[in-house]
């Protein structure tokens, strides 16, 4: 009889075996996700430091792999001016899965202590090369050369050097090697940077690609959004496991104080009311709660209607002005283009606060992007590039919004940007690329777009009018001179008649009388052709000039 073997799998081991869960599904996607995770860590660190980020990213070809995919080993370097990491934290932060500083309840890009470490892990398993992390919080500079001990889920430090920090540098440099396929993801990568710069207008980003090409994304402002505050959880959003964990660490002696201490927005009255509602003694010791009672409380918390709305100070939306700055900068908008940004008041879904921000952009510059709507999606200041058509925001713009109301037709060039910020982004899948159809979120996205689009109608009718005006002037300046020329020849005149007066008249915005006629067809761009059947305006009876009766020929 063979003996059963039992074995625990460490988190590193788990992700090592299931790396596609974290997005490392193929060589081109891996390099994209890797850069993205490192950049997002840097952005988080700069925001914590309240320092406008200055980030430098370089990807260099290290060597060509001789496998059938002809993938390449790349050297990746990401450098920022963020908080830096205290030296004693560096090994755990970068070489241990599920270790991080972002477990508190506030908006950030990273969440589980996973992304950056997964990137390093992926680099290690594809190249067997260590990661080098150089960081300073302002004191000495610490440099670690490490490998991840996958089975133990901990760092294996190969070298730790300390350098004096003469220039008072603060920030972090991550250097690693990774197998990947950059050319295939190149355009997405650049698009990702561009959209990141759009939604983080205070970001200064330099990127050098494997072909040594330099990409610069300069900041459009030094102003940064207000830092989110860490908050206690809202009872609506709590689950049994988190609740149990709170009970095991609480210092409170009874349930009334427990509720007040560990959840947001609960005073003594609400606490008692809720416990009565849940059927739990307020004097009850938390530690003595039975598993059934815990479940009962968690469910009651979802049904109880008297809690305050979730506190949204844990959120850090971009703000209307910054969003406008970012979009203007990255799309290269001019004064003549239309942009309207909107920030909705905080709302909640399942106990999580969220804020929707939106922008609608139209005008000549947008036309260069192509016809129809170009959708930019952001979640917690991260651009979402993949699986657009599965995203709830796509559903909203293609189904919920009646664009005709805003004079937008199928091929009106338009940009719609949606930013969702929340302590828990309702991603539909682990891929973190598109948002689920949460009814509350869906409704708020629609509200935001509608509000932003309200002024769009005016802009579009105005520009249609200008466009038509331009077209009219074009047509008339083409034909009036011809009419003038041939009538002069026909009438044997010395000089051509003066058409300037008529042209001036055309230049005045048309009055109702004529717009009517053109509006019918709507398309002022139509080539003017003679209708086959007569559809010329008929003349009133009394205007008729009698036939001179001279009709008879011969």
């Amino acid at each position: 009889m063979a003996q059963q073997e039992y074995q625990a799998v460490s988190p590193s081991d788990f992700f090592y075996r299931n790396r596609e869960i974290a997005g490392f599904s193929n060589p081109s996607r891996a390099i994209y996700v890797g850069i993205r995770e490192l950049l997002e860590n840097s952005l988080d660190a700069c925001e914590s430091a309240q320092e406008p980020p200055k980030i430098y990213i370089r990807i260099t070809e290290e060597s060509i792999q001789n496998n059938e995919n002809s993938t390449v080993i790349y050297y990746i370097r990401v450098e920022d001016n963020g908080t830096g990491v205290p030296s004693e934290q560096i090994p755990a932060c970068f070489a241990q899965v599920f270790y991080g500083s972002k477990y508190t309840l506030k908006q950030s890009r990273g969440t589980f202590g996973l992304g950056g470490t997964m990137t390093i892990l992926f680099g290690q398993i594809t190249t067997h090369k260590p990661v080098i992390v150089t960081s300073s919080t302002g004191e000495d500079i610490h440099q670690f050369e490490m490998m991840i001990d996958i089975q133990k889920n901990q760092a294996q430090i190969l070298r730790h050097s300390i350098y004096s920090n003469v220039k008072k540098w603060r920030g972090t440099i991550v250097e690693l090697q990774m197998e990947g396929d950059y050319p295939r993801i190149q355009s997405r990568m650049i698009e990702y940077f561009k959209q990141t710069a759009m939604v983080n207008p205070y970001l200064d980003l330099t990127f050098i690609d494997p072909k040594n090409r330099l990409y610069r994304f300069e900041r459009g402002t030094d102003i940064m959004p207000v830092l989110p505050r860490a908050v206690r959880p809202h009872p609506h959003g709590i689950d049994v496991e988190t609740f149990r964990r709170l009970i095991s660490i609480t210092k409170t002696k009874d349930m009334k104080n427990f509720m007040m201490e560990h959840f947001q927005g609960i005073g003594s009255i609400t606490s008692e009311r809720f416990l009565t509602f849940a059927g739990i003694e307020s004097k009850q010791k938390p530690i003595n709660l039975s598993p059934e009672e815990i479940v009962k409380i968690v469910y009651a918390a979802k049904d109880f209607k008297e809690f305050k709305r979730p506190d949204s100070s844990c959120l850090s939306p971009i703000g209307q002005e910054l969003l406008e700055t970012g979009i203007r900068k990255e799309l290269g908008l001019t004064e003549d283009d239309f942009i309207k940004t909107i920030q909705r008041p905080a709302a909640t879904y399942s106990g999580y606060p969220f804020i929707i921000e939106a922008a609608v952009v139209a005008g000549k510059t947008v036309r260069k992007l192509g016809q129809g709507i170009t959708l930019y999606r952001f979640a917690n200041k991260i651009p979402l590039l993949f699986d657009e058509s599965s995203c709830v925001s796509f559903k909203v713009i293609s189904k919920n919004i009646n664009w005709k109301t805003y004079k937008v037709n199928q091929d009106t060039p338009l940009v719609v940007a949606i930013h969702v910020c929340s302590t828990k982004i309702p991603y539909k899948s682990v891929g973190k690329e598109f948002l689920a159809d949460q009814p509350e979120v869906e409704k708020e996205i629609a509200n935001a777009i509608r509000k932003a689009a309200r002024d769009l109608r005016i802009f579009i009718s105005h520009s249609l009018r200008l466009e038509r005006q331009r077209h009219r002037l074009n047509v008339f300046s083409k034909y009036l001179p011809k009419i003038s020329e041939f009538s002069q020849k026909l009438a044997d005149k010395e000089e051509s008649p003066d058409i300037q007066k008529l042209l001036n008249e055309v230049n005045v915005p048309p009055q109702q009388e004529e717009t009517e006629d053109e509006d019918e067809n709507g398309s002022s761009d139509d080539d003017v052709i003679l209708p086959e059947d007569e559809d010329f305006p008929e003349v009133e009876e009394d205007e008729i000039e009698e036939d001179d009766g001279n009709g008879e020929k011969n």
Binding site: H471, R472, V475, F476, K478, Y479, L480, K482, I483, S484, F486, S487, Q488, K489, L490, A491, D492, K493, P497, D498, I499, K501, L502, E505, E514, D517, E518, S524, V528, I529, L530, P531, E532, D533, E534, F536, P537, E538, V539, E543, I544, E545, D547, D548, N550, G551, E552, K553, N554
Partner: protein, 363 residues
Amino acid sequence: MVMAKKISEAERQRDVVEKSLKQLGNLIYDQINEGEFPWIMMQSRSIDNIQYDDTVRQYILGDRMIKRHSRNIKHIRPFTQLVWTAWFARELVKLRKTSTLREVYYSARGQRDIEYNDQKESDNIITDLEVALNKAREEFGIFPEERSAIFGDLTIEYTVPGYEGRRTNLTDHPDGVMVGPAVTSSEFIETTANKILVIEKGAMFTRLVEEQAHKKFNAILVHTAGQSPRSTRNIIHRLNKMWGMPVYIFTDGDPWGVHIAMVIVSGSANAAHLRGLTTPDAKWIGVWASDIINYKLPTENLTEFDKKRLTELQSDPRYKEDPWNREIETFIKLQKKAELEAFSLYGLTYIVDKYLPEKLNEN
């Protein structure tokens, strides 16, 4: 003496046309100078403004007028084309040149921004000019491509440049004389003929010439080559009016032949704005449906297309009278048709010796 008078008559005609074109130019010129978007008024050519008139016995345009206005963005291009066409026509008249519908279309192509999308568009503008000035395009020197022919003892005098005052007799050429701008604009001087025989088909026309039918019947022979062109209809009209010559039309025995005859008699809706193209007293003498029976002609079956056309003709008020009505009904009854050439069954001269004399006698 006579000659000089004729020439000055043609000259006068040309003068009138040129003046009216120039007048149009003046009108537009002045409108522009007065700061007004130029416009012109003309009779509407839409279907509901075309009606059959019993007194003149042809289609005419009703009273409804329309304004062609250059102020309207959709109309300024056709308006420009109209002015250009008027200028082009005036050049033709001035230089005593002629042109064809197709040539006008191509000439416009040389003008930036005026060029037509197709010839139909160009033809349409020319018709506009006809309506606006109340003149036929032939008077502007614009002719269709189709060429018909004429043969018989008729002396004409040319008015075209280089031939002014020159006369010719239409028996001079045994193939017949092509009806082009020169014949159309000529003066009719004298004739010994006392009737006109109009024939749809070229082969039959040639046969009649060979058999000396013009002498035998004392007739001028006109070959329409299918649906008769406006210039040919105008010649028939003039001969009929000038000398009171009766006109006999001889077509294939099918619905299409019937209609060819009717257009010579009472014109087409397309030319409702023009006079002088119809010959209301002209007679259609064959081939009738009843001839198929009477002469035991070889036949073909009516096609679906033929049948549909017959029903269409029945709903046209002009076909209410006999022989039109009677013969259309007979066609429907027989479900047969016969071509002019069908008479060859009885020998090449049968038609001249037997059929035509009988038919002319009857009518």
